[in-house]
């Protein structure tokens, strides 16, 4: 097995180990609080705590700006490789 495959398998295993117990823990907590209104208040508090939520104007600018920057650097890298190849082939 290649090292890269081992890394990916470990990543998947790790994410599963964290997600499964967290999901069950949340269910138990929610059952205890139904009807008391505590859940609603907690959700509101969580929304207030969030820094720059996804879907807001600034949030979208940051997220799409990051994705655009990554896309641009990938395209720039590919263009750089292609132009250097063209140069070397025209020299020979």
């Amino acid at each position: 097995m290649k090292p890269i495959s081992i890394v990916f398998v470990l990543l998947i295993m790790m994410s599963m180990i964290y997600m499964i117990p967290t999901a069950y823990a949340e269910e138990d907590d929610e059952e205890d609080r139904i009807g008391s209104g505590e859940m609603k208040r907690e959700r509101e508090q969580e929304h207030q705590d969030e820094g720059i939520p996804i879907g807001t104007e600034i949030g979208n600018v940051i997220l799409y700006g990051t994705i655009a920057a990554i896309g641009a650097s990938v395209v720039y890298t590919a263009f750089k490789i292609k132009s250097s190849k063209r140069k070397s082939s025209s020299k020979s």
């Binding site: 290649k2 090292p3 890269i4 890394v7 470990l10 990543l11 295993m13 790790m14 994410s15 180990i17 964290y18 997600m19 117990p21 967290t22 969580e46 705590d49 969030e50 820094g51 720059i52 939520p53 996804i54 807001t56 600034i58 949030g59 979208n60 940051i62 997220l63 700006g65 990051t66 994705i67 920057a69 990554i70 650097s73 990938v74 720039y76 890298t77 590919a78 750089k80 490789i81």
Partner: protein, 159 residues
């Protein structure tokens, strides 16, 4: 390292009370930041000095040669610490997934791109993929973006 974190962190969080668990998750974030700083600043500085020494000519060429001898161990240190930082950061993000916002999502995307390009650079045998990985991994713009997102994330987290 991954196996160690998988074995150690979930039981620690399960038995810890809420405040302790919060502290552990927060500390994971600081581990990621610290590992990133220690892994990258000396490595980038070393590469810059080596390039400068090679450019300036005969008097400094000895410095470049000396740096070349320690390049491999420093590269391994860079890879090891960055892997620790990446997994610590991702674990921190997974444990705080309920508070996911655009800054943390952007940070996770940039970190993953840097990690994938690093893996591509290290493990691929194709010449084109190696060049692609090298150019993408060394993009100054991406490094600045990553640093800016980390600063923004810490600033938002402190509020």
């Amino acid at each position: 390292m991954t196996l160690l974190s998988v074995l150690v962190i979930p039981p620690t969080l399960a038995f810890a009370d809420d405040d302790e668990a919060e502290d552990i998750v927060e500390n994971l974030g600081w581990v990621a930041v610290g590992a990133g700083i220690v892994a990258n600043i000396p490595f980038i500085a070393m590469n810059k000095i080596r390039r400068y020494a090679l450019k300036t000519g005969s008097s400094t060429i000895q410095v470049a040669k000396q740096i070349r001898t320690i390049y491999k161990p420093i590269l391994n240190f860079h890879i090891m610490l960055n892997s620790i930082g990446y997994f610590a950061g991702m674990t921190h993000g997974l444990l705080l997934v309920r508070h996911l916002d655009s800054v943390s999502l952007s940070l996770a995307i940039v970190m993953s791109v840097m990690m994938i390009s690093g893996l591509l650079l290290k493990y691929t045998s194709s010449r084109n993929s190696k060049i692609f990985g090298k150019l993408l991994h060394g993009q100054f713009g991406l490094v600045i973006l990553l640093a800016a997102l980390v600063v923004l994330y810490i600033a938002i987290g402190d509020d």
